[in-house]
């Protein structure tokens, strides 16, 4: 009789009736073969593995994380709400100690969705992990969270959402942005002035194999997590690092993913990308599930697995080592770097353009952050999408200090409704969301 060492929850929401378009890689049957493999293995008959039905997130759940433009209903479909709800239902079960660890195998994915979302980017409309994290911070008083994004693409949405948040350690391991969408996620991207060093971006050279991933886990990711001491560890479990993935150029394997999961011991894992739906996903997902449950996964090997062919070059090994050292140094010096980044109370500005590949629109942002030594700092974003709306969004962070709360409301009150299509305020300490009336 098989029994899981760790009581493990699974949410399976393959959304068999939802796709962006009929031949899109993020499509209906993406999880079909995974479901077949999981069913054939009899996973749900194993004592200590429990299947949960996903929740559906509400407008209010989304508003803790996003500014949806023009509104939540326009940006999302039911499938997005259930996908995020799947992450939330796993998180709830973990928080209520029904399970020790859990995995939401849901689609569509979400890690490219930023705080402001005018539509779809990189197949994502809303960010499931961020919505889930904000949910447990509000409902269960969780303070410190580590999110490790192991998708092959830089988790730029999650990175953006927690960029100024010193209480969330966000680590992304991904294929080098010079060779891959979305083109960001370099080691010098360490977070805003209030949160330098709690954002770690680890670009990997194309061709990296399990050896490289596990080296980084051991030498950079795990030490950072140990130092940060999170209350909870979240894994954005993208599976497109696999050697058969059609969109990427990496050499990771099901065994590698399972080993990584064993090292990371995530409380909550959420599926992100992964488009080799026949050759990778059935095996990788099975490996991750067994690893989370503490069961033997040594037999989970792709039929065409050939470690000799997947071996990474010495050049890659050396490159990864130097990246690791560089990031470790930044992390260790984070206090010092924060001190240098700005003076308490000063406002720093940044302008940038964001392209939404899925919905084909451009967004221009001007972001102002209040440098603060007591909290994450109030954030003001002036955003205009073409085609789309021009909005002003004010974010008062979780555990904000009084000065920052006051500053946030001051901006909101003074903002001119004539200049914008919409003015939004996210007050995380009070858990409210305001839309300024015209």
């Amino acid at each position: 009789m098989l029994k899981a060492k760790n009581k493990t929850g699974l949410v399976f929401f393959p959304a068999f009736d939802w796709a962006i378009d009929p031949i899109h890689p993020e499509r209906e049957e993406r999880l079909l073969y995974t479901q077949d493999q999981v069913a054939e293995e009899g996973i749900f008959d194993i004592e200590g593995i429990i299947e949960f039905k996903p929740d559906i997130v509400t407008k209010d759940d989304i508003r803790r994380t996003h500014f949806c433009v023009p509104d939540e209903k326009t940006v999302t479909t039911e499938s997005h709400l259930i996908s995020a709800g799947g992450a939330v239902s796993i998180a709830k079960a973990v928080m209520e100690k029904k399970i020790e660890t859990g995995f939401a195998l849901v689609r569509p994915p979400g890690h490219h969705s930023m705080r402001i979302t005018h539509g779809g980017r990189g197949f994502c409309h809303i960010n499931m992990e961020a919505i889930m994290v904000e949910y447990i911070r509000s409902e269960y008083g969780i303070k410190r969270v580590a999110i490790v994004d192991t998708d092959c693409h830089h988790g730029d949405g999650t990175n953006n959402i927690f960029w100024h948040d010193p209480n969330v350690l966000f680590i992304s391991m991904h294929q080098d942005g010079r060779t891959m969408y979305p083109g960001s996620g370099f080691p010098n991207e360490l977070g805003g002035p209030n949160a330098i060093g709690t954002n770690l971006n680890i670009p990997l050279p194309p061709g990296t194999s399990a050896e490289g991933y596990l080296y980084l886990m051991e030498n950079t990711v795990m030490p950072a997590i140990e130092d940060f001491k999170p209350d909870i560890i979240v894994n954005s479990a993208g599976q497109d690092n696999h050697y058969t993935d059609p969109l990427t150029n990496m050499n990771f394997s099901a065994q590698g993913y399972a080993d990584l999961t064993t090292m990371l011991k995530p409380d909550i894992a959420v599926l992100e990308g992964g488009y080799s739906i026949e050759g990778a996903l059935p095996y990788v997902n099975l490996g991750i599930i067994l690893a989370m449950a503490g069961l033997d996964y040594s037999g989970v090997i792709e039929p065409d697995f050939n470690p000799e062919k997947l071996r990474q070059s010495q050049l890659i090994t050396d490159k990864i080592k130097s990246t690791s050292e560089q990031i470790n140094k930044s992390f260790q010096n984070r206090e010092e770097l924060r001190e240098k980044a700005g003076k308490h109370g000063e406002i720093q500005q940044k302008t940038r353009e964001i392209y939404y590949d899925t919905d084909n629109l451009y967004e221009r942002q001007n972001e102002k952050i209040r440098v603060c030594r007591d909290c994450g700092g109030t954030l003001e974003i002036n955003s205009k999408a073409t085609p789309g709306q021009h909005i002003l969004a004010i974010h008062i962070p979780h555990q904000a200090c009084d000065e920052c709360i006051e500053a946030g409301y001051d901006i909101f009150d003074k903002a001119d409704t004539e200049k914008y299509d919409n003015i939004f305020l996210q007050d995380r300490p009070k858990d409210i969301y305001k839309i300024k009336e015209k």
Partner: protein
């Protein structure tokens, strides 16, 4: 998900031609065996004989013989038997040792699913789409055959992972083995459902009970023949449907736990159309809970499970709770505790400890039984709770009914919370909402009033509730299901559990899938002994259609369809009259 649609209404006429023939339903229970005689008009007769677990053959024969005193055997149209033969064999583990050969490929270590020392893991692998990823090593199979033969093994189960996607490895292994063994059972034939560990346990069970089951039913048939009873014999399955005796010999495992299914089918005549009904079979030790949606019982999604035993056997969904008329009642920390322990019969019937039955006897709800003895039991409880006897008896009755109602509602909730895999089902999925409760079993009618009070749902005991099981067996129709997979990229449609495959073109549609699935389902049903008019009760259980996309261009489609002849009443017997009574209970 359950899109019901009726096909071929032309068969409706035949129900009018059944009125003069009779059917026998027999259900072997743990302590006694119930046998009933029914006609199209209604209930005719019943007998109850004690069950001798060590000689079920005699039990069955005695029951039928007693029933047919003064009845002309040629009037019998069919006999449906529900026995505990295989169930007992599983519980007592006194099954034949059989060989099991599995080929698994990537995944969980198949050592975990080992049956006994005659379990062999061999090379060979098929992937989730049915593609061969590792070949069978024929030499290795020959070696295993030698070892099994040396160990005196006669029957072998051959099971491959994903064999329901491609059974060629199982077929090849069977071919190599067939000259060495009496009979080989292949995993893909037991069910179209995915679940490798359950496929192993189910194929193993078929092999293990095969010879015992065959001997038993062959003996029953011969004995009945001698008595001039030549009506076809059908055997009840765990899904509440019947199959012919011949078919049961090929798949004896399907007869496991047919008893609870018999009772549920027995409640169907009393359920209302378009309403959800809870069926509670209240026995001495346990209460079995089941649900009817529009007169159709709900099935287990993957297969029968009982405790740690999990299988791919098609089965009605039942939940068994250890509470019944003879449950032991005690006071613990100032609270009433009822069940799951049973210490014997009620004090009113000579037992030594108080039970819910004593409460209903004491309260005068039930006429039989010794009221004074019952009162002694109630007094024990009353003293411990420091309340009056009337109050104690009422509390025992209420608590018993409350436990039963709570457990029923929890089962409904569990079913309603079952995960779904499409946005449509998530938003629009069917939610069970019971509007009627039907009670079965000996003490059922005495609990009806209180269960109604507690649940707020219209409740009644079915007429003849103590033989509802045998009536259910008698009335059951033949059921079966088939699972079709069509893959236009590979150009093939298959129903592997029926060893069916046909080439298809790129323009294959849902209608084509339905036509093929229905044709094969019909053939299967007829071979199981269905009458033509039962073939209209077809229901699509599952349908999925997907594009296969490679390098951003569509390469074909996958269709998956599962259809069944759903469990329910045989035609011609839907409008029977049961209110014959005086015989109730």
């Amino acid at each position: 998900m359950q899109n019901t649609f009726k096909l071929f209404n032309k068969f409706y006429f035949s129900k009018y031609y059944r009125k003069n023939s009779m059917i026998i339903g027999l259900d072997v229970g743990g302590t006694h065996t119930d046998v009933v005689l029914l006609s199209g008009k209604g209930f005719i007769k019943r007998v109850k004989v004690p069950t001798d677990p060590s000689d079920l053959f005699n039990t069955v024969l005695t029951g039928i013989t007693e029933l047919l005193i003064n009845i002309a055997p040629e009037k019998i149209e069919k006999i449906i038997l529900s026995t505990t033969l295989t169930t007992n064999a599983v519980i007592q583990q006194n099954v034949n040792p059989v060989g099991v050969i599995v080929s698994s490929g990537p995944g969980i270590n198949p050592e975990f699913f080992g049956t006994d020392e005659h379990y062999y893991i061999v090379k060979g692998a098929i992937d989730h789409r049915g593609r061969e990823t590792q070949k069978i090593n024929e030499r290795e199979i020959e070696d295993v055959a030698e070892k099994l033969k040396k160990a005196g093994i006669e029957y072998v189960a051959v099971v491959g992972k994903f064999s329901v996607r491609n059974p060629s490895h199982e077929i090849l292994i069977k071919r190599i083995l067939s000259k060495h063994f009496k009979k080989i059972f292949m995993g893909h034939n037991v069910s179209g459902n995915l679940n490798f560990p359950r496929r192993i346990s189910t194929a193993h069970l078929n092999a293990a009970v095969y010879s015992m089951h065959k001997e038993f039913f062959t003996a029953v048939k011969e004995s009945l023949d001698k008595k001039g009873i030549t009506a076809p014999i059908q055997v009840l399955k765990a899904d509440g449907g019947t199959m012919s005796l011949d078919a049961s010999i090929e798949f004896p495992a399907q007869t496991v736990l047919s008893g609870p299914a018999a009772s549920i089918v027995g409640a169907i005549p009393h359920a209302e159309e378009n309403k959800d009904t809870l069926v509670l079979d209240i026995g001495g030790t346990t209460t079995d809970i089941a649900i009817l949606v529009n007169k159709t019982p709900i099935l287990e999604p993957v297969g029968m499970r009982r405790g740690i035993y999990k299988s791919l056997i098609r089965s009605l969904k039942t939940y068994s709770k250890g509470i019944g008329g003879d449950s032991f009642v005690k006071v613990q920390d100032g609270n009433l505790v009822i069940g799951p322990e049973r210490r014997g019969s009620a004090m009113a019937f000579g037992g030594s400890d108080p039970t819910p039955t004593d409460a209903i006897v004491y309260l005068g709800i039930m006429d039989s039984g010794d009221k004074e003895l019952a009162g002694r039991g109630i007094a024990q409880i009353a003293d411990q709770l420091n309340i009056s006897r009337d109050n104690a008896a009422n509390q025992i009755l209420k608590t018993t009914c409350k436990i039963i109602v709570d457990q029923s509602m929890k089962m409904v909730e569990r079913i309603n919370k079952k995960p779904v895999y499409t946005v449509h089902e998530f938003m629009e999925g069917y939610k069970i909402k019971p509007e009627r409760i039907l009670l079965l079993g000996g003490p059922a009618k005495y609990f009806a009033h209180q269960i109604k009070e507690i649940s707020g749902i219209e409740t009644r005991a079915v007429p003849l509730s103590s033989v509802a099981n045998a009536i259910g067996a008698a009335l059951a129709r033949t059921t079966c299901e088939v699972s079709l997979i069509a893959d236009t990229e590979q150009g093939i449609a298959t129903i592997h559990e029926e060893d069916y495959a046909e080439p298809i073109s790129k323009s294959y549609t849902e209608d084509d899938a339905m036509e093929t699935a229905y044709t094969i389902l019909k053939e299967k049903a007829l071979s199981l002994g269905a009458s033509e008019d039962e073939l209209e009760e077809v229901e699509v259980i599952e349908f999925q259609e997907f594009n296969i996309v490679r390098n951003f261009s569509p390469k074909g489609k996958i269709f998956r369809m599962k259809i069944q002849i759903k469990p329910g009443l045989a035609h011609g017997y839907e409008k029977m009259k049961f209110e014959t009574t005086g015989l109730n209970n």
